[in-house]
Assembly symmetry: C2
Homo-oligomer: 299 residues x 2
């Protein structure tokens, strides 16, 4: 089955202590869609401006991403610039030019409206709602978010949590939303807000699931070198949803393995600037790292 | 086989946002010895003053810890006082009274000198050396440390690393010692300093081993509430060495499971002040959490 992904489609200018890369393909939808494409057909929803490089459209197409829901509007593509510190855990935003993203309203083509698996990647909760409003009866809906929406759109986000099956956020966001330092306590509170599945991302420390079949501690694939972690969280949830949408059986049974696959795709994402490494990944490389993670965690 | 443990034996006064507990049984050797006692006979080396409460000697004995190497000297027992912040990750030392610990020279009774498994728990590197000097031909020696020794006794610590099989330290210490942010890179550098086995502790994020059979990602047991993390690292390495010393087969094969057992004992340690929870643990409770960790990590 295919997976519908809505989120941002952007140009990212990324600076690290080692290098500077202007106007890379970025955005939560781009990262999630490419990650999901290794496992399932993807239908993407997003918006770009007239300046959006053709080579990036070609890249989407190379991954067989359905672009019927990608609007091209007059104006400039959303542009974000950020800088990482030496340890790659701290980053600061240098520039945010919303461009055509400012007035974006996602419209779903008819061919998208029966999508069983829906990923509301990081984007304003109002737009996540708007996408859900247009879909018939999805089988499994997951939403990602970021601290910005906790700060400026909390009410809409809380309303969204009642409409989704799975909620993905990082540990600091979980703390901000629940006021709980303890991960298990935070997860309990997040379940009370709606979602049956809660996944807390902890960067290089992996992620943790709480769901109907209990908890799962998902490892991160240990990397000898992180080049650029931008989009790793989007790749994780994209890979997860791509895997889930084609796996046989119940979501609650498949989700652990789906997280491991997501984690592996995220590891490749970190090994190159923007999508440069992810877009060159072969399926066999993904399988190899999943097997390695099995070996790394067995006792 | 028995395990020899040298380290500090102290009285800990611990303050958390919830409670204040004066003069609890503490110190790296106390925590490590009780943890190891669930798996193996323990021979402890340490020093206490005349003020050391009898009830704590009784507690050691309840765990069948051999106290032939515990000196009782004129003066006061090492006393440490510390305070934790709300999130339990930050702590500050309020008081350090070395007492009899200041002039401590560990003397090994004859009955200790053939110990095959030796744990040099956190204590000054010079004293760790002094213990090794007195032992015939140990099978497996592990040393723990702390940031203090990196700051004031680096040379002796580096010399120690050439004499041990396994080195255990936490992530911030590994960073301080190697100047590497990346865990794999730090481990590579630590191997170059001597030890064949390197274990980096990451608190609630678990720990990681690098050894002759590759790497292992050891999970931490997720706790709904942390009461007092003091001694968790000592419990981890104590449980690990206790398990290792009685497991059949090669160290490099058993060490993964040994880490998991250590991790579980450390989880109990965090659930009470000082050793109050650890000393009440039943073997069946340890086995139950190990099984739970298997379920929590399987995919």
């Amino acid at each position: 089955m295919s997976v519908l992904i809505v989120g941002s489609t952007a140009l990212d200018s990324i600076k690290t202590p080692q290098a500077e890369n202007p106007r890379l393909l970025g955005g939560s939808a781009s990262h999630a869609a490419v990650a999901a494409s290794f496992f399932a057909p993807v239908k993407m929803v997003g918006v770009v401006g007239e300046d959006f490089p053709k080579k990036y459209v070609t890249l989407y197409k190379k991954h067989r991403i359905d672009l019927a829901g990608l609007q091209v509007q007059r104006g400039k593509t959303f542009h974000w610039a950020g800088e990482y510190e030496v340890n790659m855990n701290q980053r600061r935003t240098l520039l945010t030019e919303l461009g055509v993203f400012e007035k974006f309203t996602p419209h779903l083509p008819e061919s998208y409206k029966q999508s069983p698996f829906v990923l509301l990647a990081n984007i304003a909760p109002a737009l996540q709602h708007h996408v859900l409003d247009q879909i018939a009866r999805p089988k499994f809906v997951v939403a990602d978010t970021m601290d910005l929406w906790l700060n400026i759109a909390l009410e809409e986000l809380l309303r969204l949590l009642k409409r989704i099956d799975g909620f993905v956020l990082n540990d600091s966001e979980a703390h901000q939303l629940t006021q709980e330092d303890n991960v298990l306590a935070a997860m309990r509170k997040l379940h009370q807000l709606g979602p049956k599945f809660v996944i807390i991302k902890k960067g290089s420390h992996g992620s943790m699931l709480s769901g109907p079949n209990g908890c799962f501690l998902c490892p991160a694939y240990p990397l000898p070198k992180v080049v650029d972690p931008t989009g790793a969280g989007d790749s994780f949830v994209g890979g997860l949803m791509g895997y889930l949408s084609t796996a046989r059986g119940a979501v609650q049974t498949n989700i652990r393995r789906a997280m491991v696959y997501g984690s592996v795709v995220a590891s490749f994402c970190c090994e190159g600037f923007g999508l440069s490494r992810t877009t060159r990944v072969k399926s066999a490389e993904i399988e190899k790292r999943v097997e390695e993670l099995e070996r790394l965690t067995r006792f």
